[in-house]
Amino acid sequence: MASQMGPSPVVAELDPQVDKQERDATLWGDVWKKLRRDKRFLIAATLILIFLLMGAVPQLFTHADPRQCDILKFAQRPSRHLWFGRDILGCDYYARVIYGARTSLIVGLVTSASTITIALIFGSIAGYFGGVPDAIIMRIADVWFSIPTILGAILLLTLIHGSGPLIVAFVLILFGWPDITRLVRASVVSGKERGYVRASRALGASNRYILAKHVLPNGIAPLFIYGAYGVGAAIGGEAGLTFLGVGLRLPTISWGLQIAVAQDRFFEFPHLLFFPSLFLSVLIGAFILLGETLRDALDPRVFGSA
C-alpha cells in the first residue's frame, strides 16, 4: 500500500539504469537480509540443522544402539538414565527416536527435491511453449492430480510389494508433482509476457536464452517456498502411510511405525506415543515455518509482479 501513497525509498534502489543482473543480485541480497532478521527463520533454520545433523550423524546425539533390545524390559518408563524409556521390544527409545530422524528426512528431502525438479522442468515447458506440450503435460497432471495423494499412495503401495523410504518417496512424488507443476506453469505464464521478455525476444534472443535468463529466475522464487512446505508435507505423508500400515515396515526405524505401535497402548504407556509424535511435529513444523518465512521474504513485489 505504501507504494500507492508516496514513493518508497526502495523505489530508488530499482533505478532502471542499474544493470538487471546487478539488480537481481541486490534483490536476492535483500531477501537474505530480510531472512536474517526474521526470528522465525532463525528458529526454523536452527531446528532443521539440528535434525539434519541428527539424521546424518545420529551418534552425536546418542551412544546407544537402537537395535540392541532387552525384551524383558519392555515399555520401561523414562528415567534419568533412559530419557525416553524403552519401547515395547525393550529397545532404547531415545536412540530409536533419534535414528528415526534420518528416515523421515530422507523421504521428505528426496520427495520434495524431486517434485520441484519435475515441476521446474515440466512447468516451464508447459508454461513457456504453450500449445500442444502444455495441453499434454497439463492433462496428464490433471489425471494424476485427481487421485488424492494419500489414497493413491495407499493403492500403489498395496500393489507394489516393496517397501523402504525410497519407494514411499517415489509414490509420493507420483501424486505430488502435478500440484507444484501447475504453480510453476502459472508463474512462467505470467512471467513470459513481461516487458523485458518481449524486448529480449525483439532483440533476437533464442527461447532457451529467454527461459534461462529471464523466465526461470522469476519462476524459481515460489519453488523455494513450496520446496520447504513440500518437505514438511512429505514427512507427514510418510508418517501417515506408515501409521496406516502401507508405508515403511520393520526393521526400518520410523516415527510412523513407532506411533502405530504406540497407539494401542497409549493409555498405559503414554511415553511411547509422546516422543516420536513430538519429534515428528517439530520437524514438520520447522519446515512449514521455513516455508512461511521464505514466503514473507520473497514477497512478489520484490520480484516485480505487482
Binding site: 514513493p7 525509498p9 526502495v10
Partner: protein, 327 residues
Amino acid sequence: MPESRHLLEVDDLRVEFQTDKGAVKAVDGISYTLERGEVLAILGESGSGKTVHARAILGILDIPPASIKGSVRLEGVDLIGLRESDIHQVRGERISMLFQDPHTALDPVFSVGSQIEELLRARRSLSRREARREAIDLLTRVGIASPKERLKSFPHQLSGGIAQRVMVAMSIALNPEVLLADEPTSSLDVTVQAQVLELLESLMRDFNVGLVLITHNLDIAAGFADRIAVMYAGKIVETGPAREIHERPIHPYTGALLKSVPKLDLKQDRLQAIDGSPPNLINPPSGCPFHPRCPFAIERCRVEVPELREWLPGREAACHRALEVEP
C-alpha cells in the same frame, strides 16, 4: 465566528508514514483554499504528496502507518480527527473522490449498475426501482449512451473512457460540494481525456461544486483550472491563477516543469530534463527541498527553508530568489 467561509480550507496538513527505513514526510505542511465553482489544480510529479493529501482528507489512509496532522475544514467543519462514523457521513454526500484508474477503482465482480444502485440505496434509502431510475439518470448525465443496458455491464467489459464516466457518475451521485479528482485522466487515451475533463468541468459549473484537480500534466492544469498550486517534496511551492503561472512561473521548479514538456508550437532544440533525482522524503535536503536541482540555488537556499509568501498580487511562491530569476 469565521469571517468568510471558504468551501474547503486546508491548513498546514501534514502526513507522515512510518516505514522500517524511517519516517516518510509525504505531505509536509500544505495550505490552500477552495471556493464554490472553482477548479484548483494541484500540480506535481509522483512523490510530491498530491495523491496522499487527497486520501488523507477523505480518511482512507491506514492510520498506522500514516499519521495526519493539521486541519481540513469543509464549510468550517474540520475533517481531520473526525470519528469514523462522522467522516462516513461526509464522504460522498459532501466531499467525494475520483480515482485515477477506473478499472482498479471499480469492483470487478459486480455490475456497474449494482454498484451505483447500492450506493444510492444505502445512503439515500431509495427503493430498488427508484435507485435504478436514478442510476440511469446519472449515467445519462455523464454522457453514456444506452444507459439502461450499461447498467448490466461489468467493469472489465467497459472501455477506459466509459468506465471513468461511470466513476464520475458515482462520485457525484450523492451531490457532494467538493470533488477531489486524483489524476482522473492519466490512464485514458488522449482523445478521451479531453472529453472526461470537459464533462467534469460542465458538471462542476452546473452544480456549483468545488473541484480539486490533481495532475502531473501541466497542460491539463493550465487548460482547465482556475488556479494552480504546484507541489514538490510534500510542500506547495507556488500558487496563482492558472494562465499566469503557465505564462510566467515564479518558482524555478515550475519553470523547469514547463521546459521539460514538449510544445508543438514552439521550436525547441532539446527537451530540458530536470537535473538530479527526486528528493528522498525520509531525509529531505536541508533548506529548500529543490535546491540540489535548482539552477539558481545560492547558499541561503541550502540553509534556510523558504516560506510560501505572496510576491505578486495573487501569486505566491516558496523561493528566496522569486522575482530575481527568470525560471
